[in-house]
Symmetry: D2
Subunit: 125 residues, 4 copies
């Protein structure tokens, strides 16, 4: 996230927003953000959303993530809004919408579902 | 891919291998590659595999991608091997395995399925 | 859908609801609906939602579908609510929530994302 | 599975094959098997593959499943071949290929990835 210049712009229990500039470093040909950059920001937004409902000190890890790319991610910034769909005992299921933003305009460019395993480092998956 | 220092290490019709260093820039806490970095390399490997079966000059775009994270991606390099499962008339379905490699050892860390739309820029999805 | 006794209970442009009894025929051991039954009803709800935004006479086909199972599907009925997230020129991306219902109570048991290809029989995928 | 007339046709540690007739009951218009039927047989093949590597008496539950539909499922029978990709401590990741078969010919019609949670009824997800 630091590499991408990402910032946490909203935090509430079970819902997180993260923004990052749509810089050349995360873009492919034609100034469109690379799909991996959208996944990185969505993974963080959903992961923090999952953590926000867990006891302090808990760890979590993504076990799977699915993205549908809906439109080219062209703009100044990426904005990912993650929320918890189901906080289970052993796994947490989340979703995120990813937007490309320019000035005051946002366009939905990615739809993400991600599953996290609760209370563990990834070692123990 | 340039940001990540990625290199095409194998090309044959319908099968592509890409490698990238597992540098701090793509790692999160604890020296584990960020999930977005695995997706970026897998997206490229599967996308080039799809393109390798299309007529020269054809374009393609990822419409959806799913990754299962199988183990922490710890090592010197990431290696993604993408292959075409079904080259359809309008879409191409692919898979990739992503490995974390150290010296001569590889560990499977990610399993990816991705769908591409044929013969178009992403604008037209 | 006929095998499952499914009924269309709500239709509006881009949003469809389908219900089906949670009979022994679609259940596995322990009276829980089989995952395939949840997919069948969600596939229909999202497919009709996609069709509801297309010109009359248009055909469509599911190209991929992902479900997260959130809780055991125990109850009298399954209810799937599908909606269009993005009606593109060549593909339509949809989501559905699937509930298990008993009397007036609903429990979210499945979260579905599905992609459809527009204006074609499946032959031409 | 009983409703569908499914049979276990091959069992080895981590790899399972299941067949079922492609009857009108699992078909939609035009004699093509409904997507839910392909998921049902693939879910069973991958679930049994996961169980085949667990201690006797262990239970498991599907937490998520993704299918890519590759071609219309037309034929006499469906055949699903499931295998374990990663048997983890807490989850098992699997894949299945689903074929439509007629006489001695098989056609790949579905590609499935499914994740199972180990050692639990679905209640505890």
């Amino acid at each position: 996230m630091k590499t991408m210049g990402a910032q946490l712009t909203h935090v509430s229990p079970g819902a997180i927003e993260i923004e990052a500039p749509l810089s050349p470093a995360v873009s492919q040909q034609a100034g469109i953000a690379h799909g991996g950059a959208l996944v990185a920001i969505a993974d963080s937004a959903t992961g923090y959303a999952a953590l926000s409902l867990m006891p302090p000190g808990t760890d979590t890890a993504t076990i799977e993530l699915k993205i549908n790319y809906l439109a080219p991610a062209v703009g100044d910034r990426m904005v990912a809004r993650g929320r918890v769909v189901k906080a289970g005992r052993r796994t947490t299921v989340t979703q995120a919408e990813v937007f490309a933003a320019t000035a005051g305009q946002e366009k939905l460019v990615g739809l993400v579902t991600a599953t996290f395993i609760n209370g563990t480092g990834r070692e123990e998956i």
